[in-house]
Amino acid sequence: MYLRSQPSRGPTQRCCGFTVTEMVLGTFLMALLAVLLAAAVATFARPAAEVDGRTRLALEASLAAEALARDLGGYLADNSGVPGTLTQYQFNNWVPSSDGTTLVLNYQGTPPAPVSLSVTYQEQNYGLVRTLSNGVQNMVVASHVTGFNASLCDSDGSPDPAGSYLRIEITLTYPDPSSPRQSNPSFSGTYVLIGVQPPPLPAQ
């Protein structure tokens, strides 16, 4: 007797691809992941970019303030390391330009120094440039400077053409217009410094 062998059934043929349910579930998970990533960027990347820009502003402002404090201390800082006498390199006066874009600080230069010396501050190419009157020493003391204004004022900082105080406004912006990085975020800060005249030399 022969038993007719039944043709064995192989594994069920599954069609390739995925079902609508799987697609919907996958889309939902992708959307959820995108929301989570966007939240993570908003939470971590934005503060990181903000810290970067604001730190640069704070550092450049500190450098600018330090340079001005050095030159408004009563004597010229560039004295070759030789203290000399009290009259050498003594601060004489400050002369802001009429439009406020340039500040000139004059110093006495009794021998052996030159007769008079001056230091000029102005904004050039988004940098605060300090120039000594000998024309050789030209130095950028701060970057990202988008505004510099110097004017005479009262002790409270209110403008006064006959005032005995000097109001200096420095605006810093990061990234500045010369930077190749021109996208958001950007930050700017305006710093106000008021120069006080040094007291006159006491009488003997």
Partner: protein, 127 residues
């Protein structure tokens, strides 16, 4: 599905690990900005409206009262007030013939292995 849940949990743990770094950076930034605060800040942040913060903070560059302090420190004081009440007023100048001090040589510094200054050597000439 379990794998997806595990992946999300790991992602959450990883993101939570960034929190201390962000907080540390913000604290350092605040400390840095407190040294010199701008009168006006303008922020253009990503996805946010432009913010303007006015502190109206101004600083005074106040020279020292003592002329030798002015000359040797070569730096004005950066103060929030127009004067420093703790800076003593100088009422008299050194008499004529007061020793004239010069510094003929550059001041030399002695550093240890970590780069810290351990000694300062200055040669002065008094005549």
């Amino acid at each position: 599905m379990l794998e997806v849940q595990i992946a999300f949990v790991l992602l959450g743990i990883g993101l939570a690990g960034l929190c201390p770094f962000v907080v540390m950076q913000l604290r350092q930034l605040r400390s840095l900005e407190s040294r010199l605060t701008a009168s006006t800040y303008v922020y253009h942040s990503v996805g946010m409206a432009t913010r303007t913060v006015q502190s109206n903070q101004i600083y005074y560059l106040v020279p020292w009262n003592n002329p030798w302090a002015q000359k040797l420190t070569t730096r004005a004081q950066l103060l929030p007030t127009p004067s420093n009440t703790s800076d003593p007023t100088v009422t008299s100048q050194p008499a004529a013939g007061f020793p004239h001090v010069t510094l003929p040589q550059v001041v030399s510094l002695t550093l240890d292995g970590n780069g810290n200054v351990t000694a300062v050597t200055a040669s002065v000439q008094v005549n």
